[in-house]
């Protein structure tokens, strides 16, 4: 069906490419907050945010075990 439409209208190919980028963009929108939180969980900074201060040697700050 989509191939047929592309044959009728050459702009359909461009439309498809744009929509594909759009679809990927939506996934980035959906997963960006989770990815940022995962990333920041390894940040040794005391504030929730950047700049990146490196990963603490003991792993995730909140999960450190006291000896």
């Amino acid at each position: 069906m989509s191939d047929d439409l592309q044959a009728v209208n050459p702009r359909a190919r461009l439309f498809r490419i744009i929509l594909s980028f759009y679809g990927v963009g939506i996934y980035i929108f959906l997963f960006a907050p989770i990815a940022v939180m995962i990333l920041l969980s390894f940040n040794s900074s005391r504030v929730v945010g950047f700049p990146w201060r490196g990963s603490p040697p003991t792993g995730i700050p909140g999960c450190r075990t006291t000896p």
Partner: protein
């Protein structure tokens, strides 16, 4: 009794006798046929009707010395509807819900169109799973994650600083209405996407093909063949998104700060200050808006008039 014989008996064939008809009527009125509804009725009654009735009753009472007094008054409604701040908050909440609903639908429709038409069938389920995957994480976490993106030290500001586009953090989004809007769209996008996907998946794409064959541009074909059939799904998705946004509490509180207060925050403030009647009146007003929306869109849910 077979279905055919039951139908014959119920239909009153030529050989039907009066006592037999009475038996059938009695059988139809038998209370046991409603037994199956009892669990649902109990659930609905205990968890919806009873709390709703309680809130409605509370909204007409008053508090004296932090105690509820069953004294009928409409002052709570007057207080909310005559106080400028409350009215503005109420109006802003409805406006925010409308805008976020439209945005969620506008984002979800092309996405679902792409997923259904251009993604191979075997990958569509995976694509859909990825849409609901963020739901597997905590709601609280997803909201606070946006603070880490929109905040002064967030990802956006850090990126802008790293690119040399700004020296100081831009406070355009966090602790203001645009931030609340973005987060609301983010939170409720999957509701819209799932509903629209279910409808688009069943669409007969040959109709679109036929429209293009008859000379319509692709956009016109979509507008004249696809959208009318999607009306039901669009309205349903809109209702799914609009209703929870009206009562949203956490996103306006965490992202909006003092500028992003919505009705949910007002209700929470009333209740935490033990102003139960005021909080109840605000809740009833939210429920009233939802009821009006449902009544307005009821006609759109009629599937008989798709192309009207």
């Amino acid at each position: 009794m077979t279905v055919a014989s039951y139908a014959r008996d119920a239909g009153g064939g030529p050989g039907e006798t009066e006592p037999r008809r009475a038996d059938v009527k009695r059988e139809r009125r038998d209370w046991r046929q409603f037994v199956g509804f009892v669990p649902a009725a109990i659930l609905f009654g205990v968890f919806f009707i009873a709390p709703l009735c309680l809130i409605i009753v509370y909204s007409f009472w008053i508090t004296k010395n932090y105690e509820l007094v069953p004294d009928f008054t409409i002052d709570n409604y007057k207080s909310i509807l005559m106080t400028g701040t409350y009215v503005r908050t109420f109006g802003k909440t409805v406006l925010m819900a409308i805008l976020a609903t439209f945005a969620a639908l506008a984002l979800a429709f092309p996405f679902c169109y792409w997923l259904v038409r251009y993604v191979p069938k075997r990958l569509q389920r995976v694509g859909l799973l990825l849409v609901i995957l963020p739901f597997w994480t905590s709601y609280l976490l997803r909201v606070y994650a946006w603070v880490a993106i929109l905040g002064d030290n967030g990802a956006i500001n850090s990126m802008l600083k790293a690119l040399g586009l700004t020296d100081a953090p831009i406070r355009l989004f966090l602790y203001d209405n645009p931030g609340v809007f973005i987060v609301l769209v983010y939170l409720y996008f999957p509701f819209a996407a799932l509903t629209l996907y279910a409808s688009l998946e069943r669409f007969d794409w040959r109709l679109l093909h036929a429209a293009v064959d008859l000379g319509a541009t692709p956009m016109r074909a979509i507008a004249n063949t696809l959208l009318p059939q999607m009306r039901l799904a669009l309205v349903t998705a809109g209702i799914f998104v609009f209703i929870p946004i009206l009562g949203e509490y956490l996103a306006p509180s965490a992202i909006g700060g003092t500028h992003g207060v919505m009705m949910g925050n007002l209700v929470a403030n009333f209740f935490s200050g033990y102003l139960l009647p005021l909080g109840s009146a605000a809740s009833v007003l939210i429920a009233l808006v939802i009821t009006i929306v449902l009544i307005v869109f009821r006609r759109s849910l009629d599937t008989k008039e798709i192309y009207v």
